[in-house]
């Protein structure tokens, strides 16, 4: 443990310090957006959005190498794909309820598969595992800046529209009757989910990002009486999980993303069993 503290404050180990700062910064959007996703029960929509990100990354790499569009960064591709997927799954869940499952499942799979096909058609070798499973130890100062901006955006919008998001998540029909544009706020929530997923894929990857988005709020729901309390507890839990998972992965030379997820998943399942037994 002391070895870990020395490593964090060692100027030669800047990557580790960045990883811990990233863990703290990322916990804010994870906690806030994750609480909305969990209470609105749209985890599967967030899953479709996160897997579509792979299509955007594949497209960006394809355009960079094959067409020389060097400005088309994989992050830009991921952002574009996530926002398109967010609007698409949002409209499907609002207007095509009867076929929602199959359409969302198709967007989920096609997004992922098209990314793999585009990378297949791109000459060169690409390390896909950091996109799929994340690598928080490769974080740069630019990444920290992006996530800092995301924090400001998510915090600002959530504080400003807290009552509207609360109502849309609890009872959308009643909110609509009060004259609120529920479609706008639902799509805004999905777009914020998309932004959160894209910028935080670097920590735990496309496959595992949904777990970090939903597990801390699920644990927080055991103890929170109000929505803002659930957000606060989620942020704290998310910070603890990323810090502890990072520490474990550093000390035992394990992959950081899966270490964070296994830790948070095991905590949730243990607490769930304890709660069931106590009831």
């Amino acid at each position: 443990m002391i070895e870990l503290f020395h490593a964090i404050f060692d100027p030669d180990n800047l990557f580790l310090k960045y990883a811990f700062i990233m863990g703290s910064l990322a916990s804010i959007p994870f906690g806030i957006i994750g609480t909305f996703v969990t209470t609105k029960k749209i985890g599967y929509l967030a899953g479709a959005i996160s897997h579509s990100v792979f299509g955007g990354i594949g497209l960006a790499l394809f355009l960079q190498v094959n067409l020389g569009l060097t400005w088309f960064d994989p992050l830009l591709g991921a952002l574009l794909a996530a926002i398109i997927a967010a609007v698409l799954v949002g409209l499907v869940s609002l207007h095509a309820k009867e076929r929602e499952d199959s359409i969302i499942g198709t967007i989920w799979a096609v997004g992922m598969a098209s990314g793999i096909l585009l990378i297949d058609m791109t000459p060169g070798y690409f390390n896909l595992s950091s996109y799929l499973f994340g690598d928080i130890l490769l974080i740069s100062s630019k990444d920290l800046l992006y996530v800092g901006c995301l924090d400001v955006l998510v915090l600002g919008i959530s504080i400003l529209f807290f009552n509207r998001f609360f109502s849309v998540c609890f009872d959308s029909e009643f909110t609509y009757l009060r004259g609120i544009n529920t479609t706008f706020f639902y799509l805004l929530l999905l777009i914020l989910t998309a932004l959160t997923v894209v910028l935080l894929v670097r920590i735990v990857g496309i496959v595992l990002v949904i777990a970090l988005l939903t597990i801390p709020p699920a644990i927080a729901s055991f103890y929170a009486k109000r929505l803002w309390q659930m957000m606060l507890y989620s942020i704290i839990l998310c910070t603890l999980f990323t810090w502890t998972g990072l520490g474990i992965s550093y000390l035992w030379s394990l992959s950081s993303g899966p270490a964070i997820i296994v830790l948070s998943g095991a905590t949730y399942l243990s607490l769930l069993v304890i709660h069931k037994l106590l009831k």
Binding site: T39, K41, L160, F161, F162, N163, R164, F166, S167, C169, F170, D171, E173, F174, T175, Y176, L177, R178, G179, I180, S221, A224, K225, R226, L227, Q229, M230
Partner: protein
């Protein structure tokens, strides 16, 4: 059409179909100010559809609907609505106050004001739930949840209150308490509610709106076995709950 009349709800030849099945057919309806009416009818007969047409949540295929002399979309602020609580997430982290304050949501304001909180507290008091203001909504019993949803509907000081099965899944005593509250509120507003318990509601409401694709209004005093048979297209056991049931027991028609 006479808009100067004191009819708050006017349906003229209204038709509504869903997936090519007629739900409401050629309905003409007039509801006066101060009415306290129960909408009854068989499942799939169009009771909830009628409420949703009044709220403007769905649009009629034919005919005209006027609420307070205007289109339903334009007068929603005058209508309080209580949905069936079964469709709400019972694990949602919210206190009673959080839920009731939803009734004060408005497009122009981002946050709730002191006046909003005062109105919410008044509405909670109106339904006799003051001591539960800071309690979690999911800790309440079914009947208490119904009362809180009524308070949420009252919070905007509506002129018309619509309730969708307010006494579903609650016991007899709770049902009586809820109807006593509604009876008091009726002096300030028109009330329409969907109910399956015709025997029970008939002792509180002034008239019964029978919906089975078409709509017929009966004064409560004229509800009898033949009328019920017509509504439900078959025989039905009606339990008439008597106020003096402790002395005489329930009578079964």
């Amino acid at each position: 059409m006479n808009f100067n009349s004191n009819h708050e709800i006017i349906f003229d030849n209204v038709c509504f179909a869903y997936k090519q099945r007629n739900i409401i057919e050629d309905v003409n309806l007039r509801i006066k100010k101060g009415e306290f009416a129960s909408i009854v009818g068989p499942n799939g007969g169009g009771k909830t559809t009628l409420l949703k047409l009044i709220l403007g949540l769905i649009k009629q295929d034919k005919g005209q609907i006027h609420i307070f002399g205007k289109n339903p979309d334009q007068v929603r602020h005058k209508i309080g609505y209580m949905p069936q609580y079964a469709h709400l997430d019972m694990d949602f982290p919210a206190t009673v106050m959080d839920v009731v304050l939803m009734g004060r949501l408005a497009n122009k304001h981002f946050w709730f004001s002191k006046k909003d909180r005062f109105e919410a507290l008044t509405a909670i008091d109106d339904v006799g739930m003051t001591k539960f203001t800071d309690t979690s909504f999911n800790e309440l019993s079914g009947g208490q949840k119904q009362r809180i949803l009524i308070a949420r509907a009252l919070c905007s000081r509506p002129e018309l209150l619509l309730l969708d099965e307010p006494t579903a899944n609650v016991d007899y005593q709770t049902e009586e308490n809820l109807f006593s509250i509604l009876q008091k509120l009726n002096s300030k507003m028109t009330i329409l509610l969907v109910s399956h318990d015709l025997g029970f509601v008939s002792k509180y409401v002034k008239s019964v709106i029978c919906v089975n694709r078409q709509v017929v209004i009966h004064p409560t005093t004229l509800i009898n076995g033949t009328v019920i048979k017509d509504i439900y297209h078959g025989d039905l056991k009606m339990v008439r709950h008597d106020h003096r049931c402790s002395e005489e027991g329930h009578t079964h028609d």
